[in-house]
Amino acid sequence: MSVMDSERQVTAAGAAADLRVRRLTKNFAGHVAVNDLSFAVERGSFFSILGPSGCGKTTLLRMIAGFIEPDGGDILIGARSMREVAPNRRPVNMIFQQLALFPMMSVGENVEFGLARRNVPKAERVRRSHEMLERVGLAGAASKRVDELSGGQRQRVAIARSLVLEPTLLLLDEPLGALDLKLREHMKIELKQLQAAFGTTFVYITHDQSEALVLSSHVGVMNRGRFEQVGTPQELYYSPATAFVASFVGANNRVAGRLTQRSGAVATIETSEGWRVHARTSGAIATGSSVEAFIRPEAAHLERDASSLPEEHAKHVGVVESLLFDGANSAVLLREQSSRLPFRVALPQTGRLADLKVGERVHFSFDPSRAICFAAADG
């Protein structure tokens, strides 16, 4: 009974887990691709695995799909162990990076392919594939050739081709990577809506933090074969668990220095050039040890006049080095006056300070509770 109970173990949110990975390990010629990894993905969620290239995320996904044999550990899909189960027998389907639609078949035949392999009769195959195409907004496209479709339509065919088989889990291997920016933004929204409409559990891998944040209900940030942090996009953004997560997710200013003093949760960090900043600490850090502090560009206030800054926070002076205009994401790159360190500050969206000039002297400050510092990796 106790085994059954653990198989049916329930995740924090109360839903059953569709995917459970236990102590999964994979080595390639002495290089550890996936290192003793364990996690669970709850039913109906959109789970992203975010990491730089070479972090092992593709290996992980291909192990879940069954294309790579793990060295150790186990993968359970819908509480069933996938050990010794071939890819064509797993209740998992994958959306490939290049989509891998079959060019020798029509759109309808592509969607029917999996059903035909399960010996579903032709009439029902046609009915179900038409239904599925209609659900992804491609009604009437069944007789088209694959190369007649636009990039976005192809993506929807790839999803229809997989979802028509009603898999427990849909794996997506950076399917937006090959699209141009405009279409990518559009497809992001479409993917999220499709996932919500079908309710299938999606496991999505990407190196693009904005895709992971926008799409996912939970994100695992992967680095060197391990998860640095698993959490909601908000948790990753506002309370990163490690320096890697802080620097990888979203834009961040990194200030490296020594922890010189602490009062309560707030520490003072002094860089080797003598610049002092304040930040809250993550975990116990001894005074005098090297630390890395991270301050989000939008956490800082920017003013021409020091007296306009809030009184309670330490004030810093910088010189405008370049203006990075990007609509709502516009920022200004400063050089802090005493240390000459670069510091990025978001421009207010009201259009105030839009007339800043390169070389101008400005004042900035930030709330130490919105800045975070970690013990430096190399001590």
Binding site: A65, F67, P87, N88, R89, V92, N93, M94, F96, Q97, Q98, A100, F102, P103, M104, M105, F113, G114, R117, R118, R161, S162, L165
Partner: protein, 297 residues
């Protein structure tokens, strides 16, 4: 001063002139060595010698072909064996091409391809003689069979249809492997994985993904190999001996032994017609277009 060397031609002529010059060798080859001799042969095949240096237009040569059972039986036999050899070559070459393109990686793949190529550095005659050494009654393979106790007397392995087929498959293998490799190389591995992921078995992947993708390469290879087999003279003659009954031997006999150029020319045209008909039939059956296939080969 630099432009004194430029051709004193209107600008519009220059590209056309370059094109003509580039095409000239190919056109010369085509007209002088293929079209003109064939026209001459066509004229030869439709005339009959009634007296020394006196000829009349006639269909006599073609009538002889159909009237004489030996001729058309050899003709049918050559066609059937050539088609069989082509099919066998495809069966042997496909796994080789698959291993070269999809299983072996990097250097191993190049090495395997080189291994297929190296025997072709040796002339076909020498290779056929090599087979003779291996297969003749006092040769290597019969001696081995006796030594293993499989037969009491060394068997005669030469001069069978199977021997001819073996020789033809061996000679044509490379011409099948090359187009197959090029068409399998362009097969995206993720298509195979996607089919596998969608529940297809190995056989279903082969049937629905690999073969449709490689169809132009398969057709190209089959056309080339079929033509080579049908027109082969050396291999059937050496390995099949007097029993080989290959149609090219009949043509040779007419031209060289009987000095009946008219009959030889008619046979030549019948062979041309046969290969054209079978290739057209093959294209039709596989649903391929000749232009697509030629682009692949």
């Amino acid at each position: 001063m630099a432009n004194t060397l430029a051709l004193p031609l209107p600008r519009a002529w220059t590209p056309r002139l370059i094109l003509t010059l580039l095409l000239a060798p190919a056109l010369l080859w085509l007209v002088a060595l293929i079209v003109l001799p064939h026209m001459q042969l066509a004229l030869l095949s439709f005339r009959e010698r009634v007296a020394p240096h006196e000829y009349e237009p006639s269909l006599g040569q073609y009538q002889t072909f159909f009237a004489e059972p030996l001729y058309w039986q050899v003709f049918v036999r050559t066609a059937v064996l050539s088609v069989t050899a082509t099919a066998l070559t495809l069966l042997v070459a496909f796994p080789i091409a698959w291993v070269i393109t999809k299983v072996a990686r990097g250097r191993a793949s190049s090495l395997l391809f080189a291994i297929c190529l190296i025997p072709f550095w040796v002339s076909e005659t020498v290779r056929a003689l090599g087979w003779l050494i291996l297969l003749r009654e006092s040769g290597v393979l019969p001696a081995l069979l006796v030594k293993l106790g499989l037969t009491a007397m060394p068997p005669e392995l030469l001069y069978h249809d199977a021997t001819i087929l073996t020789g033809l498959v061996y000679t044509s293998l490379l011409f099948m492997v090359v187009p197959l490799v090029s068409s399998l190389e362009s097969l995206d591995n993720s298509l195979v994985e996607a089919a596998y992921d969608l529940g297809a078995s190995g056989l279903a992947i082969l049937r629905h993904i690999v073969i449709p993708h490689a169809a132009p390469g398969i057709t190209a290879g089959c056309i080339v190999v079929f033509m080579l087999c049908l027109g082969n003279y050396l291999t059937p003659n050496l390995l099949g001996g007097k029993n080989s009954q290959w149609f090219t031997e009949l043509i040779y006999t007419q031209f060289i032994v009987r000095f009946n150029w008219e009959q030889g020319a008619a046979f030549g045209f019948l062979l041309l017609g046969l290969s054209t008909a079978i290739v057209a039939l093959g294209l039709r059956m596989s649903g391929q277009r000749f232009v697509d296939v030629m682009r692949r080969s």
